[in-house]
Structure formats: C-alpha cells, structure tokens
C-alpha cells in the first residue's frame, strides 16, 4: 500500500473516528477539550521604552503578580509601531538574569581579580564621593573622565557637567558613528542622527554599504527595509559577506574588504561620465561639482575592478540602477563605520554620491526630521570647563572631531601613551570597555594606571571586575529615565517608567547621580525628588499632559514637511551654505578635499591569514545580551565564518573548534566552532561581536566562543576625527585539540581574569596602530608554518 493511499484511507478513517470517539467519548464527561491558557496576559500593561539596544522602541510591559511576564511593542510608538526585535521581546531575560549585580561592592584585592566585598549604598557612595573630591582638589575636575553608553547615562553626564569635567566620552562615537556623522556634516552641514533620517520605506533603490539590516536589528530600519522590499524597491548590497540583506538584494557585490572607496568613486565616475546625476539639484544646492567631475575621471569601473574585484559591467549596471531611481535612491550611510581609518572619507564619498543622486531632503532619500520642543530643566549654569579636553594632547590631532574620543581618553590615562597622563579617575556607565575599545591590553594598562575606577552596570561584566567600586543599577524595566524626544518623521516624546520596583538592592542611575551630587556639594543641581518628578516638570513645562504620556507611553505631535518638495527649507550648515562636494574645510586641515583612493591604505592579508570582520547577530546586542538566557536559546555561542574553499585548504570541517591567532601573535582566550560557508569572501573570516567573555560571573556566556575585541590589537585612527578603524587585523587558525594539548603540557589553562586579560608575558606596545604593521609582518613566519 502506497503512503498516499494509506493517508487517504485514514482520512476517511478520521470521519469514522470522529463519529466513534463521539460515541465512545462522553463517558464520565472526560472528553471535553478546553483551550489551555498560558496565563501571561498582564494584570497591568505599562508603556515604556526599550534599552536592550540604543534605538529606544516603545514597549508595553505586561505585569502579573508583580512579575513582568512578556514585553510587546507599543502600537502608538513611532519607532516600534507595535513590533519588536527579538532583543526587545527578550527583555525579561535581562530583568531576571540570575547573574545580575545585586549589591554595591568595593574591591578588596588588586584590580582584575574579582575580590569584592558587598557594602551598604552609603559606604559605596561615600567612597565614590571621597575619590571624586580628592581627584578634583588634587588634579582638577577634568582629571575625572566618564565613559557612558545608554540612555540612563544622561544622569551621570549631568553629574559630570556639574562637577566640571569635559571628559565625557561614549564608544558610540569614535568606535561607531563618528566618521559617518563628520563625513555627512562636512558635506551637508547635517549629521544623519540617531534614529537615522533615512527614508528607507519610500526609497525605490536602496544601496547598503555593509549595513547589514536584518542582522543589525534597529527595529524601525528593518521594518522600513521590509516595507521597501514589499514596495518593489531594488536593493543593492555591497558586502564581502552574503548578509541577510544581500540575500534580499537584486545585486550583491561581494567586494574585497576595504575597497569601498574605490567602488564609490567608480560609481561617481559612471554617474557623472554618463550624465546621470541630478543637474538641477546640484546647480541649485551644491558646491564644487567641476572639481569633482575632474577628480573622478580616472576612477573608471575598470580601474576599480583591480581594487574591488568587482566586474566593471556590474559596477556600471548598478550605477545606472541608482540613477534610474533618483532622487528616491538611498545610499545608506551605515552606522558602525569605524572600519579602516579612512572612514570619514568613505562616509564623505557616500554623502557625495547621495548628493549626485539628489536624495538629500528628498522622498526616498533622507527626510527632514522634526522633534518635540521640551524645555530643559532649569539649573544654575554648569561650571566653566577647562578649555582643554584630555583626549587630544596635541590640538592639531583629529581637528574635526566634534565629540570626545573614548580611545583618546583611554590613552590620556597612560603616561607612556600618547600625551601625558592627565586622567586619574574613571566612571564607566553602561559600557564594557575591555570588549568595546580596540586593543584591550591598552585599556587594561590604562586601568592599572588609574587612582580610581567606579563602574555602574547591571551585570558582572569584565569592566566590573576591574573597578574599585561597583554600583549595581536597576534595569530599564525598574526605573524612570530622562524623557526621550528624538528628531524623527514626526515630533514626539516618550517616557520610560518603572514597570516593577528594582530587584535586590539595585538602584536607578538618577538616584545614584543625585546621591553623589548631594555628597559632593552639588545639591543645587539636583533639586528634584526623583526622575518622575523631573520628567513631569519638563513635560508640563511644554504644556503637555504627563498623565496622558504615562498612560500611552508617548505623545506624538504634528509632523512638519519631510522633504524639500514638501516645502521644508533646503538649508545646509556648511561654510559655503551649500552641499560641499569639494570640502574647503578638509583642504585647510591638510586632508583630501574630495575622497581619494590610496592603494597603501588597505593592505592584503599576509599569507595564511584572513581579515577579521565582525558584526551583529539579530538576537544579541554586543556583549550586553549574550548572558541573557532567553536570547541565548536562539544563539548561545558565536562561530567563525570561513569560506568553504579556504576551509577545505585547511582541512577544517563544519563544527571543528578553532582558536584564532592574529598577526601580533595574540591568540584568542577561548575557541569557537568553524562555520564552513559559501557566504563569505575568501580573504576574510567573520564573527558576531559579544562572545568569548572572560568574566566568570557571567555564568551563561563565560568562555563561549571567541571575543573579536581581544584580536583587535591593531587599529587605524582616522586622522580627520579620531575614529578607530578596527577591520585591520588578520587572523589564522589553530586547531583546538592542538592548543589544548599544549595547554595540558604546560599545565596552563585559562588563568585569573587579569592574567587572561593582560595575556601574561605579552610584550606591550601602547602605540600599536601604525607600528604594529611591522610586527604583523614579522609574525607571518609562524603563520606559514600552520598554513597549508
């Protein structure tokens, strides 16, 4: 009897059964089939906004019996529109993480060893206050630096402004968006902001330069990405890796890593050469077209081919696609753009390309955002800061940096480092510096030089193990923060509210800032009782109903004109008041006024080595969620993506565990499984950032996978604004069996955290960025031995 016949027969059977069980069943009324209810619907549903990443989507938190059962999107919120990314949906995994910091702690042993004593809040805060005052009196206020990432950091920034230190840095600048914002500001006199003003949903041709939307899960961007696809937009993705976005694209250009400027110039060459640009737009708004026209002449697709490995015809074809859809063509500016140290120029090239297509200020390109006017809280003026910010000892360095450079502050802490050591104390809020700044050894060395380090965190992350005082913060679901008034399609204000009271002895950041303020004589800067009162004051000063805001989570205003064609005025805050294709400002500072290709800027991987690339998993945010039990169910370890052919050459099979060793002989602390794949360029390997964690108290993620940061011993600093290009490291494979056998033999395994961190016995060179190049080449001999 064939399967089909059987199925058919049984499906007749079903009828029979139904009848039969109908008869046979109602015996003893045991046959009812009630619908089971998991009972997760909240007794209260409280609106707030998410902090699993920095996008700040509006959420609805369901609370039942005092527990948050589930988190949904807030349909009224302009960013989430009722939908969430997996991380936002998994917020309870952070709230109920068993490894959370529970009580304030003070170090009782040398830094790096997690020897802490739990103390009262009073004791902890007094300790911090004393050190703040001591540092101020001995070295001046600016000897204290703040690293801050995340919305709760605003309270600490306020504290520092009041205290009088200008050294307030965030890794989201020099390790992330900095070059993009400077590049666009140089061109249009505007940054693209966050949330970005990209009109993705209306674009008819979307060009992604690395931006891996779909893995990069910035909710609204991904929502609009899907909408664009539904609307039939053409997607062109440039990425050495077949990203999810690439899989949705009409054209995937598997570019040689680092060659994007060459491609962008070739596109300009075609668009200008074939007269496909938006002439009217340019003559109306742009400055320097003639120079650009001359400038890009040599950059033909054929010329670009030798740099990018991309077929000239495809370069032409894609250029025409872009021009065909203009001005509704969006060449996405990207976000994490600190790749090769020439990133401001690459961002400039992207900005200029958008200008040629006339997409800035146009539908389907970049819209003109508006934000809600909420008066600031009335404080006595902040103290005058010392003119000199510590991140750039030599003022001529990185002349166009418009924010404090985290790496600079870090270096300014090391006497032997760039410049003298004028930083003596750090406060680190919501930033895990050892996995965030390039070359962790540099960071650890700086930390060893500190008089005092206090960290504010929710988890026992690496940075916590290095702190003198640890302040456990309440999670975003347990606190009210500053109101959120982004520049977006429509002006609106969102509120973060306490969904459940703080667990354990954790406290919200605003409370810590206020307590510290009072302790160091800055009482007048903390007149409010709590953050809700603060928020209420601001919201009502704007004439808005705070109760309504608390009930709905957001108050949305009337959108202004979004595009030039809708009457939004075409203003450009550049020197010339125009879109600067040619940048006088760059010229004056001795940089290429127009993006230029320099062959020496991107070197090839040494024999047997592969360029280390890294990015996002949709279910995780850096290391901040990799300990989240809920999210780890989907991904609990990162793998190393290796091109199939390369893997074959190395005899690596899918799932084989390897350690990675970089050009400076630095070997990963832990191993990870190889993902043998046809999705990546043979020159590169790829990893998801946020794994290979060394903090033993992160019980879920400790030792799982490989940490890209520890292999990033080299970085190229962008001369224009100080961004740290981190895609400049090369790694080779070591079989886990071999490494572990050797460790057995030496009796050495993973040591204490500081040993692990400082990679005992490694020679340390604080000025690695350029000098390490020589070192790398020296390291290759070893590479060849292991190379097939």
């Amino acid at each position: 009897m064939k399967r089909r016949e059987f199925i058919r027969m049984t499906s007749y059977g079903v009828a029979g059964t139904a009848a039969l069980s109908g008869v046979s069943s109602d015996w003893f009324g045991l046959y009812g089939n009630p619908t089971a209810d998991p009972g997760t619907e909240g007794e209260q549903v409280i609106p707030s906004f998410c902090e699993l990443c920095f996008w700040k989507c509006g959420i609805l938190a369901h609370v039942k019996d005092g527990r948050v059962t589930k988190i949904k999107g807030n349909p009224k919120d302009p960013l989430s529109k009722g939908h969430l990314c997996p991380r936002g949906a998994g917020g309870t995994g952070l709230l109920y993480d068993p490894d959370r910091l529970r009580r304030p702690m003070i170090r009782r042993d040398r830094r790096g060893t997690q020897e802490f004593e739990e103390v009262s809040w009073d004791a902890a805060l007094n300790e911090v206050a004393e050190n703040f005052e001591r540092i101020k009196s001995r070295y001046g206020a600016s000897a204290l630096a703040l690293f801050s990432h995340g919305y709760g950091g605003n309270w600490m920034k306020h504290l520092f402004h009041a205290y009088g230190s200008p050294n307030i840095a965030a890794p989201s600048y020099a390790q992330c968006r900095g070059p993009r914002d400077v590049g666009f500001d140089l061109t249009f006199g505007w940054g693209v902001g966050s949330p970005e003003r990209t009109d993705i949903k209306n674009s008819e041709c979307l060009v992604l330069i690395g931006s891996h939307l779909g893995e990069n899960m910035h909710n609204t961007q991904v929502q609009e990405f899907a909408e664009a696809i539904r609307n039939g937009a053409t997607v062109i993705t440039v990425d050495p890796r077949f990203s999810v976005a690439a899989s949705k694209s009409a054209e995937w250009l598997p570019i040689k890593p680092g060659a994007d400027i060459a491609l962008l110039l070739a596109w300009m060459n075609v668009i200008i050469g074939e007269g496909l640009y938006d002439g009217e737009y340019l003559s109306a708004y742009a400055y320097g077209f003639e120079q650009l026209q001359e400038h890009v002449k040599p950059y033909s697709p054929e010329w670009a081919y030798t740099r990018t490995g991309l077929d000239p015809d495809r370069i032409r074809r894609t250029a025409r696609m872009m021009a065909g859809a203009r001005p509704a063509t969006l060449v996405h500016p990207g976000r994490h753009v600190t790749w090769y140290g020439n990133d401001t120029q690459r961002s400039r090239a992207i900005a200029i390309l958008n200008a040629l297509l006339g997409s800035w200020g146009r539908k389907g390109g970049f819209f003109v955002p508006s934000s809600m006017e909420i008066p600031a809280y009335e404080y006595p003026g902040y103290l005058d800061h010392e003119a000199h910010v510590a991140d750039r000892p030599d003022p001529s360095q990185y002349p166009l940096a418009d924010q404090v450079l985290a790496q600079g502050v870090c270096n300014a802490t090391i006497p032997s480092g760039i410049g003298d050591s004028r930083i003596k104390g750090w406060m680190v809020y919501g930033s895990n510096l050892p996995t965030t700044l390039p070359n962790p050894e540099e960071t650890y060395r700086a930390i060893q030089e500190l008089d005092f380090l206090v960290s504010v965190d929710v988890l026992p992350a690496e940075i916590v193990g290095w702190s003198d005082v640890v302040l456990p913060e309440a999670t975003y679901l347990e606190r009210c923060d500053e109101v959120f008034t982004p520049a977006w399609r429509e002006p609106y204000v969102a509120v973060r509210q306490e969904v459940v009271p703080p667990m354990y002895e954790s406290k919200p950041g605003w409370w810590m800032a206020r307590e510290l303020g009072h302790r160091i004589g800055l009482t007048e800067f903390f007149p409010w009782e709590d953050s809700m009162e603060y928020a209420k004051t601001r919201v009502e000063a704007a004439g808005l109903d705070c109760d309504l805001l608390q009930r709905d989570g957001v108050i949305v205003g009337e959108p202004g004109p979004l595009y030039f064609e809708e009457g939004s005025p075409p203003v450009f805050y550049t020197a010339s008041g125009k879109i600067e294709l040619y940048s006088q400002r760059l010229a004056e500072n001795g940089f290429d006024p127009m993006p230029t290709w320099h062959d020496e800027e991107v070197e090839d991987p040494p024999q047997g080595y592969y360029r280390l690339l890294f990015g996002r998993s949709p279910v995780h945010t850096f290391g901040r969620t990799t300990n989240n039990r809920l999210l780890s169910e989907v991904m609990e370890e990162n793998g190393v993506w290796v091109n199939r052919k390369v893997a074959e050459r190395w005899g690596l099979r899918d799932g084989d565990r390897v350690y990675l060793q970089n050009q400076d002989g630095v070997r990963s602390t832990f191993s990870a499984p190889v993902k043998v794949t046809d999705r990546i360029h043979p020159d590169a390997v790829y990893m998801v950032h946020g794994y290979g964690r060394k903090a033993k108290k992160l019980k879920q993620v400790y030792g799982k996978g490989i940490d890209d940061a520890e292999l990033i011993t080299r970085y190229k600093t962008d001369p224009i604004m100080g961004g740290t290009g981190m895609n400049v490291n090369f790694v080779t494979f070591l079989r886990a069996e071999d490494v572990e056998a050797q460790q057995e033999a030496e009796g050495s395994s993973v040591g204490t955290e500081d040993e692990v961190a400082l990679g005992v016995g490694r020679d340390f060179d604080p000025v690695l960025n350029t000098r390490a190049a020589g070192k790398a080449l020296a390291g290759i001999g070893a590479g060849e031995e292991v190379a097939p």
Binding site: G73, H83, C85, V222, Q223, F242, P618, D678, P682
Partner: protein, 182 residues
C-alpha cells in the same frame, strides 16, 4: 468558528530570520526553557559568490490531514476550533506517537507536564478576541500573516491568490496550512 479555517502565510521575501517570532512565542506561551514552538530554518544554495538563501519561520502546520491526530490513541491530539490542531494535556499519556508521526518535527514533550505540546495558533488569544497570534504581532518585518483561509477576502487568501507560494513536504500528504511566499 466552524466556518473558519485558520492558516498562516509567511513572506520569505521580507523575513530576515531575526527570531523575534521565536522569542515572542516563548514569552507569550511560557514555553519551557530550551524548547520552542517555532523556529527559523535557513537554506543556502549555491557556491560563493553565486548563492541564494531561503529563510523560513516554521511551526506546526495545523495540517488538515494531521497524522499526529490520527495516531493519537487517547484523543489528546484533536482537530480544534477554526480547523486548527490542538492538544489536551489532560488526556495525553506521553506515548510520543504523535511526535514520531509529525513529518515536521513540530512537537515536543513539555517536561513540566509530561504531555506533548506544540504551536496552538495562540488559540487562547484568538478565543479571547485578540485578532492575531503573538509571533505575527511581534514580527518587525510583518512577514507573518494569519487569518481565515476560507474567507476569500481575508489577507491570507488574497496573498495566496496573488503571489507564488509553496508548502513544506507536500508529498507527506498532510495538507499543511502554512504557506510560504516566494
């Protein structure tokens, strides 16, 4: 609900495989740790650089012709409201015949109850007037569509009428009610 036949239409053109639907289901349905009712399946075909990838959010297909129901000796697995396939833990003996009989490996034993379990199409929501499932609701790309296949005007019906689609393992003869748009 007799005239209703619930089904899902999933747009593989827009699904990015982010697994929000997986987390959204776990929290909505309080599924046991390390178990999930829906999952992300990806298939890459080709050789670098000529590759293509299909991403599918998968779960119980609520088959019209469900072997899991047929093999169930106790009637715990049954055809429920709206043409869905449901499970009554009270009746389940944990014999696991339904698990072996499902060509989609959509079921598992809930270690807390010892009863088989799987996607319910969020029937507890639907019956309480919530119009849609949790995975559909959370999806950032709105790639999941849930509705009445028997209503020609429903969104799902319209999508099936206007777009190219496929179902999983059609030759298993199960008549699945999950449709994947190309």
């Amino acid at each position: 609900m007799s005239d209703v036949r619930y089904g899902m239409v999933i747009d593989t053109m827009t699904c990015v495989g982010c697994a929000a639907c997986v987390i959204g289901c776990k929290t909505e349905n309080d599924t046991p740790e390390e178990y999930s009712r829906d999952w992300i399946y990806t298939l890459l075909q080709g050789v670098y650089p000529n590759v293509r990838m299909a991403i599918e959010s998968q779960r119980c297909n609520h088959c019209d012709n469900a072997p899991c129901v047929e093999v169930c000796p106790t009637g715990a697995s049954h055809y429920g409201a709206g043409g869905t396939v449901q499970l009554n833990p009270e009746k389940c003996s944990g014999c696991k015949a339904c698990i072996a009989a499902c060509p989609y490996e959509a079921r598992y034993i809930d270690p807390r109850s010892g009863a088989a379990d799987k996607c319910t199409f969020c029937m507890h929501r639907i019956e309480n007037g919530v119009p849609t499932t949790s995975c559909q609701e959370i999806c950032p790309t709105q790639s999941i569509h849930f509705g009445n296949l028997d209503d020609p005007d429903s969104e799902v019906s319209r999508l099936l009428a206007t777009r190219e689609w496929y179902v999983l393992r059609p030759d298993a003869g199960t008549k699945p009610k999950h449709f994947y748009l190309r």
